[in-house]
C-alpha cells in the first residue's frame, strides 16, 4: 500500500517538477539591459532566441518535451543546464556530497546538543537553569543563519584567521594524500556547519524539552523515581527513549527542508552546495536545472519520510 502511495506521489512530483518552472512568469532567454548576470545578452535577435530555444528543445510542444524529459530520466539523463552549459546530473552529483556533509553534520550536532540541553532543561523545569536555557534558545531561534554565519566569518576568519574565507576546499592545491584532502575539507566545513547548527539548535531544544516534560509527568517515570533510580538512569534510560519519537521524526522531516535552509549559509561561505545552485536556477528560469534539482530534492524528502515511517514503527510498536 505504502509503496503504491510513494509511486503515485513520485509520478505527481514528476509532472509538477516539469510543469511548475514552465508556469512561472519569465523566460530564460528574455533579458533586459541590466541583466548582466544572465546567460544571454539583451540584444539577441528573434532568430537567435529561436536558435537557442531549439538547441535546448524548448521549441517543441509541451507533451513532447515531457516525453523527452521522462525518457531521458529513464536513461539517467537529466539534461543540459541552460545557464551553466553543463550536464545537470554531473552538477547535482558533484555538489551533493558537500551539501550532504554540511547538512548531516549540522543536523547531527544540533540534534544531539539540542536534545541534551532540552532534557536538562526539562529535568530542571522550574529552576533557573531551565529559565536561562529557555530564554537563550528562544533568542537564538530568532537569529537568521546568515547573520550567525557572518559573525562567525568575522570572528574566526578575519580576526583570528583560524578558518578560510569561503569555499569547500583550498583552491589550486595539487591532489595530495587523502588525509590532507579530508583535513582541508573539514577545515572549510567547520564554520558553515557551526552556523547551520546554531540556527537549528533551538528547534531541537524546544522539541526535546517539550517532549521530555510530557514524558517526565507519566506514571512509569514516577515509578522509576519511586524505585530509587538515579536521575541519570531515569532521564536517559527510561524517559528519553519515549521522548525521542518526535525528535527522530523531526530529524528526518527536516532533512528535506535543510537543503533549502542551507542556501543562505552556502552563500555566506561560498560553499559549493546544492542550495545556492537551486537559487540561481530559479532566478534564471533554468528549466532543465530546476527540474533536476527539484526532482532530486523531492526524491530525497520522500525517501526520508519513508525512512522516518520505518524507524518510528521500530521505536513505537503501537504505530505498526
Amino acid at each position: 500500500m505504502h509503496i503504491a502511495e510513494y509511486a503515485l506521489t513520485l509520478c505527481l512530483i514528476l509532472l509538477v517538477n516539469f510543469g511548475l518552472p514552465r508556469m512561472m512568469p519569465g523566460d530564460p532567454f528574455l533579458n533586459a539591459e541590466d541583466d548582466l548576470d544572465q546567460p544571454f545578452a539583451a540584444n539577441l535577435t528573434t532568430e537567435q532566441v529561436a536558435y537557442f530555444r531549439a538547441y535546448y528543445g524548448l521549441d517543441k510542444p509541451l507533451s513532447q518535451q515531457f516525453i523527452g524529459y521522462f525518457c531521458g530520466l529513464l536513461h539517467g539523463d537529466m539534461g543540459y543546464s541552460i545557464q551553466f552549459k553543463e550536464s545537470v546530473r554531473n552538477m547535482i552529483f558533484s555538489r551533493l556530497p558537500w551539501t550532504l556533509f554540511m547538512v548531516l553534520a549540522s543536523l547531527l550536532l544540533s540534534c544531539l546538543l539540542g536534545s541534551w540541553l532540552g532534557c536538562i532543561s526539562a529535568l530542571h523545569r522550574t529552576g533557573s537553569l531551565d529559565k536561562a536555557l529557555y530564554t537563550g534558545m528562544v533568542l537564538f531561534s530568532e537569529l537568521p543563519s546568515f547573520v550567525v554565519g557572518l559573525v562567525l566569518l568575522f570572528v574566526f576568519s578575519v580576526q583570528l584567521r583560524w578558518f578560510p574565507m569561503g569555499g569547500g576546499l583550498s583552491p589550486f592545491v595539487p591532489p595530495g594524500n587523502p588525509l590532507s584532502w579530508l583535513a582541508d575539507a573539514v577545515h572549510h566545513a567547520v564554520l558553515p556547519v557551526l552556523a547551520l547548527t546554531v540556527s537549528r539548535l533551538s528547534g531541537f531544544y524546544l522539541l526535546a524539552r517539550n517532549s521530555m516534560m510530557t514524558v517526565l509527568s507519566k506514571d512509569y517515570v514516577r515509578t522509576a523515581w519511586a524505585k530509587g533510580l538515579g536521575a541519570q538512569r531515569v532521564l536517559w534510560g527510561h524517559a528519553l527513549r519515549n521522548a525521542m519519537l518526535p525528535i527522530i521524526t523531526r530529524v528526518f522531516l527536516s532533512l528535506g527542508g535543510l537543503f533549502g535552509g542551507a542556501v543562505l549559509v552556502e552563500n555566506v561561505f561560498a560553499y559549493p552546495g546544492l542550495g545556492a545552485l537551486m537559487g540561481t536556477a530559479v532566478g534564471n528560469r533554468d528549466y532543465v536545472l530546476l527540474q533536476g534539482v527539484f526532482l532530486f530534492m523531492s526524491f530525497l524528502v520522500l525517501s526520508m519520510n519513508a525512512l522516518a515511517d520505518v524507524l518510528c514503527r521500530k521505536l513505537d510498536p503501537r504505530l505498526a
Partner: protein
Amino acid sequence: MSQQTKYKRTAWLLASVVIVAVIALLFFSLPKQASSSSGGLPIIHLAGGNVGAPSPFGSISPGSSTHSDLIFDGLLENDENGVVPWLAKSWEISPDGLTYVFHLRNRVRWHDGQPFSAQDVAFTFNFFRTYPQPRNELMVDAHYIVENAEALDDTTVRLTVDGASSIYLAKIGSVNIIPRHIWEGVKDPLKVPPEKASIGTGPFRFTAFSSQHGTYRLDAFPGFWGPKAVVAAVEWIPVGDQVLAFESGTIDLISVGPDLAARYRGNPEFKISEGHNHSGCRLVFNLRQRPELKDKTIRQAFAYGTNREEMVEKLARGAGAVGSAGSIPADHPFYNPKAAPYPFDLDKARQLLAERTFTFDILARNNMDEIKVAELMKITLAKIGITLNVRSLDGKTRNQILHTGKYDLALYKSGFGGDPDYLRTSYGAPKTEKGLGGNTVGYYNDTLYHLGRQSLRELDTAKRRVILNQMQEVVAEEVPQLILYTIIENYVYRPARFNGWRFRSDRLRNTSDMYKLSFLEDWKG
C-alpha cells in the same frame, strides 16, 4: 568509586584523547595555503564564483568576460582612451567604409604552440556568423555586420561589412579571435571542453577551472607575443563576503560603494580608483500602452517633478550625479553641455500639466534601489497630480512584462559608457514593440531617427560629434526616457601589493571594470 563509574571515566578519557588526536592529525595534515607570489611576480587573487568556462561560448553572463578576455586577443584592444593596435599592428578602411584590411603581427602563437595566422581571423568571423555567441558584439540592428571575411595571405585579412559605420572598427576589434584548428568542424560549440575551448593567443593561458567551486586560475603565457606580464598568475577564489575577504588580504581588489569607500579614503595602505559616472537608473515611458505620454509636456513634467538631487543624495549617497538631459554623462568625451537640464521645479511641472491628472503603474525590479527610486518619485509626483502605483517583480518576470509591453512606466539600470551609439538604439530606432534593449516602446521621432542613421554611418569623428550633439539637444527637449541619476563605483586595492590596476568603462558593463592591460607592462602598440 564503583567499578562501573571507573569504566565510564576511562571510556570518557579515551574518547577525549581520540577526538583530540583526530583534530591534531587533521590540523597537521592541512595543505599549505596558496602562495601570493611566484618567481618574484605577484599572484593576483580576485573574488571567484562560477561565471562559466573561460571560453568564447562558455561564459554564463554577457557581463563577465574578464576571464576569457585575458586568454583571448582581439585584433584591437580598447584602453581608457580608445582603440590601440593589438593582434593587428595596422589597418586600412576603404573610403566607402565597406572594406577593412588588417595587417597582423608575425610570430604569434596559440597557447598549444600552433602558429596563428590570418586564416584564424577569417575563420573566427565566419564561425560566429553561424554560431552566435551569448554576447553579441557583431550584431547591429539585428544584422551580423561582417558579410565576408577572407585571408589574403598569412598576415593580412580582409573583412567586408554591411555598411559604412563609425562604430564597426571598435566592434570588429573587440572580437576574441579563436583558433581554426580547434573549432573547425565543431557543430556544438557549447559542448567543447574548456581545456580545448580556452586556447587563445592572449597573455594568460587557462590552467584550472572548477564550475562547482567557482575557481579559475590563469597563468602568464611565456610565449605571448606582446608586452610582458607583470603578474605570475591571476586566481579567482571563492569568498563569501568580499569586503571581509579584502580586509583579511584574501583578495586584492573590491568594488565599493560611497559609504565603504570612506573607510579606506585617506589611509595610505589603500588606494581608491577614480570612478566614472557611467552607470545609472532610467525611467522608461511606454507610449503604446499609455498614448497620453506621446504629449512631450507630460514627459517634461516628469523631469521637472522628480527630485533627482534627492536620489543622488539618498540613494547614491552623494557619489553620483543627476542624469544628464541628453543621456550622455558629463564626464563622457561626447557629452554636450548645451543639452538643457531639468532642475527640480514643481511649479514648472504643474504649469506643463495644466491641471491634468494621471495615474500610472511603475514597474521596478524587486531590489531595494529600484523600489526606493519608485517610492521617491511617487512622493514628489503626487504633488503635481501624477499618482504612481509601484509594482515590484523579480527580474525574469519584469523582463517578460517589458517584452510584452504591458506596463506604463518602468525603471531599470544600464550603462552610459563606451560608444554613444546608444542614443540611436534607445531613441532613434524605428517604432519598437519591446523594451528589452533599452528602447522606448511606441516612441518615434523622425529627427532622432535620421540623425541616428547619420551618426551610425558617419566615418568622420568631428562630423559625428556634431550629429551626436544635435541628438543630445533633441533628446533633452523630447525626454523620450528620463535618466534619473548615475552612480560612481570605485575600486579599492593595496598599492603595496599590486599597483598596476587599470580600469575602463564600457556600455555593456554597468560599472567600469579592471581589464587586461592591468597585468601587462606599459604598451604603446
